[in-house]
């Protein structure tokens, strides 16, 4: 028994050491930096107590970034999962070229956030982008919009890209779950006279609720840490219209020379994610059906 523990410890040790070195230690040091006004360059570090946290909770800029983050998280969590489930049902029910459709829907997932951001930045370009060009060609010039330059559309446009890029990933999880639904239960309900809609709502949905928990958790976390697309497509603009918390963290830390404040923002974000995740887990876990 004792030798087993030692072997276990030996196997765990490398991961533990790496995790400690690259996650725990930086996190702990960021707690220290969050109480300073360090600019990230100068070795002179000044302790400012709780000033950074006070600023976070009183600054309109952080409030705006939090609002944008929450909006984009809700937007993508809802639509991304709806689209992913729709795609999974489609792929699950299609009898021909199933693998082809799976691959097509999954392709955006393998693109990096930066690459997808650049592609869509070109697509959304007001004067030369294919979207507005297409609208113009179809005689729908009135529908042309400055998709990334208008405060009314910029955040939604970024959200569309996130959904386009992420839906394929969640589709795979839904698909795996759909294929795990016992066919005998479905057949029994069919014999009992249940309609397709009833079968979906009463049989399929409860049985894939585990996938919902996973996907909503993942999309929640992804929504809260949106960065790549904002950095590439809008730089947080126009003005501050698409600035999210993670982007704010980056801008203040690296661009504005306020590493101390940036780490404080990071810690606040960590707590927000922990709390939201706990609430979500509580809610969704209670709805899961165990087979």
């Amino acid at each position: 028994m004792r030798s087993n523990s030692r072997t276990t410890a030996a196997f765990i040790a490398p991961a533990f050491i790496f995790f400690t070195l690259f996650i725990i230690v930086p996190t702990a040091s960021s707690v220290y930096y969050s109480f300073t006004s360090w600019d990230g360059i100068n070795p002179y570090i000044r302790f400012v107590g709780l000033a950074n946290f006070k600023e976070i909770f009183t600054s309109a800029r952080f409030g705006n970034a939090l609002k944008n983050t929450v909006l984009i998280t809700i937007f993508i969590s809802a639509l991304e999962n709806a689209l992913a489930l729709g795609l999974a049902l489609l792929v699950d029910n299609v009898s021909r070229a199933r693998n082809f459709f799976r691959a097509i829907f999954y392709v955006p997932v393998i693109l990096s956030g930066i690459v997808s951001g650049f592609i869509w930045k070109i697509m959304f370009n007001y004067n030369f982008g294919p979207i507005n060009q297409a609208l113009q060609s179809l005689g729908l010039s009135a529908l042309k919009r400055d998709w990334l330059g208008s405060p009314a559309f910029a955040l939604a446009s970024v959200g569309v890209v996130l959904i386009w890029k992420g839906a394929g990933y969640y589709m795979v999880i839904y698909l795996a779950s759909l294929q795990g639904v016992p066919q005998e239960v479905v057949e029994a309900s069919t014999i009992d006279g249940a309609s397709s809609l009833q079968r979906f709502l009463r049989i399929t949905l409860p049985l894939i609720s585990g996938a919902f928990t996973i996907n909503f958790t993942l999309s929640l976390i992804n929504g809260l840490k949106v960065f790549d697309q904002v950095a590439v497509m809008t730089d947080g603009g126009p003005g501050f219209a698409t600035e999210t918390i993670v982007y704010l963290l980056y801008k203040v830390g690296f661009s504005e020379g306020r590493q101390g404040f940036g780490t404080a923002v990071g810690l606040v974000l960590l707590f927000i994610i922990m709390i939201l995740n706990w609430i979500q887990q509580k809610f969704l876990k209670s709805r899961e059906v165990q087979l």
Partner: protein, 462 residues
């Protein structure tokens, strides 16, 4: 046996991974190639390179890393050409250009510093920040003496300015102006009237603005800030640090309202137009004018060599010309770590002498349409627009760097300029009132000044 095997396996994994980490770390700047320098014969930094010849036995060439903002294609090409020429002429030194991030160069350089990859030599923009952090080495006296004017910190100069500050002005479609009988404005109001005339003609937008790149907003912002604020209070920022001036000041508010008034003449979609695209608008006859620096001359010529380009400076309401010009705070720098190695210091000095050597410097200036800053300046053969800029700089009523290029008591807190530009964009787009914008700017300023205040010395190491 199994246990021993497991432990050995884990240990191997751990050490191999750690070895990988060690391999990725930046070499110590002081670890010069062994064969390069005999320290006892090391050249003094203040001597000319001829007097500081490299060591006699140099088995391997001395390697110097070099980073600059490579977003502008003409600048990148020019720098590559100079470095290639230098490397060919100096087989004992190899300057290695590393990719720079043109769009977010300041962040890029900070990141390189954070991960221990601060280059030996670099284009420096945030000079004051890096000087305070002790990251830069002062220029040798023989290098300083090359320039007509330099920027000193406590008597020491840390950057070799590439050229005079990039003078902004209106680049316009000369053919269109001639066809429509449009004339060069003598005052700001005449300029606005010109914009209105072009808008009413309906052929193209009066102005093209690359508002997606937030720094591009600085061209217009500085022009109006200089006319509205600096004209009556050159120390406005210092007074903000002292608390005797506020951003609700009517002159500052005027800057924002002037921006609002002006931007009605920008092309549709200006907030999502990158700076890299504005040349297309001008040569494609989608816009009649752009306000930018002289570096755009080359870009316009490259885009359409037959395009008839004109240039004029934009006056204020009384016709006074306040232009961006003179030597600025930025330029070429050597890292303080690299300067500890006499061979690297000597190589840097040698490179600067090569860069500013008349023939090389002339080529650089002509490519970039920049104005020289050296005492023994080359005679630059410029185009008509270049000559127009040269004349305007000579006769300008005031010459100064951009508002974010000041140092000392008027140095802006880091990135306050971008915060100002973004807030101004919100006002122009109508998503924020001027009052709320100035309130927000004041709040941001108060926080920034509590962390960094050159007037009181807060946040500056003694």
């Amino acid at each position: 046996m199994k246990k021993l095997l497991a432990i050995l396996l884990c240990a191997t994994l751990l050490f191999s991974a750690l070895a990988g980490c060690a391999g990725s770390a930046a070499p110590s700047p002081t670890q010069a190639p062994a064969a390069v320098v005999d320290a006892t014969k090391a050249p003094e930094a203040t001597k000319a390179p001829e007097a500081t010849a490299p060591p006699a036995k140099a088995a391997d060439p001395l390697e110097m890393t070099f980073i600059f903002a490579d977003g502008d294609e003409a600048f990148k090409t020019s720098m590559n050409r100079v470095v290639d020429g230098f490397n060919a002429a100096n087989p004992d030194i190899v300057i290695k250009i590393q990719p720079g991030d043109g769009g977010a160069y300041s962040e890029f350089l900070k990141t390189k510093d954070s991960v221990g990859e601060f280059p030996d030599m670099m284009e420096m923009r945030d000079t004051a920040v890096y000087v305070r952090a002790g990251k830069l080495a002062p220029l040798a006296d023989n290098i300083k003496s090359l320039f007509k004017t330099t920027t000193a910190f406590d008597g020491k100069v840390y950057t070799a300015p590439f050229a005079g500050e990039n003078t902004n002005g209106i680049l316009y479609n000369k053919k269109y102006f001639t066809e429509k009988g449009l004339s060069i404005p003598g005052t700001w109001d005449e300029f606005l009237a010109l914009c209105k005339t072009i808008k009413d003609l309906g052929d193209m937008s009066p102005l093209v603005i690359g508002g997606q790149d937030i720094w591009h907003m600085g061209f217009w912002f500085h022009k109006l800030y200089a006319d509205d604020v600096l004209s009556s209070d050159p120390d406005f920022i210092k007074h903000c640090y002292e608390g005797t001036a506020k951003f609700s000041d009517e002159r500052f508010v005027k800057t924002i309202t002037d921006m609002q008034e002006l931007f009605q003449y920008a092309q549709d979609g200006w907030t999502s137009t990158p700076d890299a695209q504005i040349t297309t608008f001008l040569v494609g006859e989608m816009s009649a004018m752009m306000f930018s620096g002289t570096h755009m001359f080359t870009q316009v010529a490259d885009a359409d060599s037959s395009f008839e380009l004109g240039w004029f400076p934009v006056p204020d309401r009384q016709g006074v010309q306040r232009l961006v010009g003179g030597a600025g705070i930025g330029g070429l720098s050597l890292s303080a770590e690299s300067a500890k190695d006499p061979a690297k210091q000597a190589a840097f000095d040698k490179f600067l002498l090569y860069f500013f050597e008349k023939a090389n410097y002339k080529l650089f200036l002509e490519t970039m349409s920049y104005l020289p800053v050296t005492v023994d300046a080359p005679s630059v053969e410029g185009t008509d627009v270049y000559v127009a800029v040269t004349e305007a700089v000579k006769t300008a009523d005031f010459l100064s760097p951009m508002w974010n290029g000041f140092h000392g008591d008027n140095e802006l807190p880091p990135d306050f300029r971008n915060f100002t530009y973004k807030t101004t964009v919100e006002v122009i787009q109508g998503s924020r009132t001027i009052e709320s914008a100035t309130d927000e700017l004041q709040k941001a300023w108060d926080v920034a000044a509590s962390n960094f205040n050159p007037v009181t010395g807060t946040g500056i190491a003694k």
